[in-house]
């Protein structure tokens, strides 16, 4: 009897320190089908795929692929088994040709001295392209291609390995609509050839356009697998969010008074357009939306990192011009960036040095810096935020993620900002530090600060925000009050649906 499923992952569990990332998850994919894998950030999609590729070894469960049962997969043999993955971030060798990229490490040779047979290499690639209906020159340099065409090359590479299963991780996050339809034709083409595709996405529309089946994960658990025909968007949203909301994030009441910051019709082409909102003193404004929806871009633009092309920014009712972060800081703003390693921390420097950089002007005295004052101020912050470090002179790289985050918050508190923008304030930090940061946010709001918080975590957005705006593809899709907001409504807005009233 033929196998019903090409891939049958059963009861997969994966434990990381402090979190059960996967808890008895199953995933069954039929040959020649497109299987969408959905779930919010942190639902366990990537972890599951890493288990499938053999990057992680699961604690329990079995993986049956192509009729062979494995305890776990081996990263080196996943390609030869016939599994290939097209990552969200493509990593081609830019200064080699398309053909060289595809046949990297297995180039046709002219002789045993390792001379590459370039003609044959191009011919092989062309044949592959013809088969897949890809119409650009295989001898082009990779660097000349658009992201969409680079994806095509990756797909061609997968096919050249005779992959039976191709995993695509949010392949449409960086390409245009026209390119999406080409990609979908390509995926249909693969399906017709009997290849199975696991399609990871956040976008509901795509699921119904391309997928045969869909599996939903939530918080590391298997929620269900449905035929795409048997379910609609609302049903899908219900599967994704059906979670008990514990009152993990208690924002306590703070007196909300005047408008502190207002932005009108902010536009930056290719990033966001016509974004307007206001935030009041004492208020926490949550900004929700999928990755790539323009959330981070909007707030970084307000902060002057790349100023908007048009639109107004007003502070206390007065129009301000913020051309660089320095201007924003002078105007009383602080920005905790999304990626603390990339754009926040000075890793080779001490905790104290990391705290003072936004506020160094205060410590300049006639003879060098006022080290005593620096130390006093930093010590106050260390105590107030309960930063766990043996000393302020400890290198920041030696601290845990949560404590590093506190150091960065301390940096902005030292500037005594009126407006605090927090981008993913608790990403990747432990539960204890998380709740401490949430308590601190309440305290700051109570002290009359205006706070903007961008977050991908639904409970955090719902628990901490007084008001929520939701972004979708660079535009403000809607605004919800704390009382009105539900997970369903946020997800609907974030995926571009009009709210059912």
């Amino acid at each position: 009897m033929a196998e019903e499923y090409l891939l049958d992952m059963n009861n997969i569990s994966k434990q990381f320190p402090g979190v059960l990332a996967l808890d008895g998850v199953k995933l069954k994919v039929r040959q020649g089908t497109v299987h969408a894998l959905m779930g919010e950030n942190g639902a366990g999609k990537s972890t599951l795929m890493k288990v499938l590729l053999g990057i992680y070894i699961p604690e329990t469960g079995t993986i049956r692929f192509d009729g062979v049962e494995h305890k776990h997969m081996d990263i080196r043999s996943s390609l030869t088994h016939g599994i290939s993955m097209i990552h969200q971030e493509l990593t081609p060798i830019l200064h080699m040709t398309v053909a060289e990229n595809i046949f990297l490490g297995r180039e046709p040779l002219r002789n045993k001295f390792g001379w590459v047979d370039k003609k044959k290499l191009i011919k092989q690639t062309q044949a592959l392209f013809d088969e897949l209906e890809i119409d650009f020159d295989p001898s082009k340099m990779m660097v000349e291609l658009s992201i969409a065409n680079m994806q095509m090359v990756e797909i061609a590479t997968a096919i050249s390995y005779n992959s039976k299963l191709v995993i695509m991780d949010e392949p449409t996050s960086a390409i245009t609509e026209k390119e999406v339809s080409h990609l979908f034709r390509m995926i249909n083409n693969l399906r017709d050839k009997g290849v199975a595709v696991i399609y990871i996405t956040h976008k509901m529309d795509e699921v119904f356009q391309i997928a045969d089946e869909v599996t939903v994960l939530r918080d590391g658990q298997f929620v269900g697998t449905k035929f795409a025909k048997e379910i609609d968007k609302l049903g899908l949203i219900a599967m994704m969010v059906g979670r008990e909301l514990t009152n993990f994030f208690p924002k306590e009441d703070a007196e909300i008074t005047d408008v502190k910051l207002e932005v009108k019709n902010l536009t930056l082409s290719g990033k966001f357009k016509n974004v307007s909102f206001a935030v009041h003193k004492g208020e926490i404004l949550g900004i929700a939306g999928l990755m790539g929806s323009g959330r981070t871009e909007v707030i970084e633009s307000i902060f002057g990192i790349y100023p908007p092309e048009s639109g107004d920014i007003q502070i206390d009712g007065k129009k301000v011009s913020l051309k660089q972060p320095m201007d924003a800081i002078k105007a009383g703003m602080g920005l905790l960036t999304e990626d603390r390693k990339l754009s926040g921390l000075f890793l080779p420097l001490s905790v104290q040095d990391n705290m003072i950089y936004s506020n160094i002007g205060k410590y300049v005295s006639k003879f060098g810096l006022n080290n005593k004052l620096i130390h006093e101020d930093c010590e106050k912050q260390r105590i107030a935020l309960a930063v766990k470090t043996p000393s302020l002179f400890q290198l920041v790289v030696n601290l845990s993620g949560g404590n590093q985050q506190k150091v960065l918050i301390a940096r902005w508190l030292l500037t005594e900002p009126d407006i605090l923008i927090l981008d993913e304030p608790t990403r990747g930090i432990d539960v204890g530090a998380k709740s401490e940061i949430h308590k601190l946010m309440t305290k700051l709001a109570q002290a009359g600060k205006a706070i903007i918080m961008v977050s991908s975590e639904m409970p955090e957005i719902l628990g901490m925000s007084d008001r929520i705006i939701v972004m979708h593809e660079g535009e403000k899709a809607g605004e919800l009050s704390r009382a009105d907001a539900t997970q369903e409504k946020i997800l609907q807005l974030a995926s571009g649906e009009a709210l059912a009233i």
Binding site: G18, Y357, G361, G368, L369, S400
Partner: protein, 339 residues
Amino acid sequence: MSTTKMPAARSKKGGFNLKAFVNKYGILLIFIGICCLLAILTIDNGVSIFLKFRNIVNVLRQSSVIGIIALGVTFVIITGGIDLSSGSLVAMIGVVVATLSKEIYGLPIIVPILAGMLLGAGAGSISGVLTAKAKIPPFIATLGMMTIARGVGFLITQGRPVDNLSEAFQVIGQGSILEIGKNFFIPFPVIIFVLMAIISHFLLSSTKFGKYTYALGGNEQAAYICGINVDRQKIFVYAYAGFLTSIASIVLTSRVSSGQPSTGVMFELDAIASAVIGGTSLQGGIGTIGGTVIGTLIIAVMNNGLDLLGVSSYWQQIMKGLIIVIAVIIDTMRHKNKN
């Protein structure tokens, strides 16, 4: 992510943390070790030639030119950049300074000195602007400056050295103070080196300028978000390096009483080596002036000691290369532990 890594040998209050001590003062210990070894190896008739006052002063004087350059290069490397132009700038500035201090012109000594400083700071600023504003990698920007400066030096002098400098100017490099009898004196170049080292140390460790220097090398993107004027800081740092190079050039020109368009070859690499041996990380964000001074002295002492021991200069080159490589290996291993 969620585990706090603590130093393995945790120091209790009042306790002694050997690992941290070696980490911090390792290069100083190595320097002292080398000195002790040389002191013993050069004993002749019961007297250590290496430890003779005259020899020590000699070592310091010889190291002063590279040492002064290395101070500025340290700033540049801490920002994550590199400066290859120092050697050529020494030559170019040297011929200009020498020309202005010729006996026959009778200009006051301050004229060549100021002109040299301006030229150095100006050339440095140009490298800085190329890096900060035109976004050219510092390696390329300063490689261009290196080649141009070398050419300009030859062009001005038509390849000939500039001689017959004024007596007053020659004092800078050849004079000394605190002469007590015949056997005790401190040459001016050593004084200038020490002075520049103290100023640089203060700048780097205790001022906004210094903190910004570290910030650039530590994380340029974060520095920008913290409101630091990243471009201006970069230009200032390269200008400061150029300024120190001009001081080195003035000292050298005065000491040899001649502006030589062909001098200074490889000085930039010796200066970089001094900084690196002293613990400055080419990744940026890490380094101290104290370390660079020790790095300079290690190279100078090695050369001197091997000379005294009669080891050929070919071997000296090989030893220097080995020290550089070993210093960087130690540095890399130290960093690996952290990540």
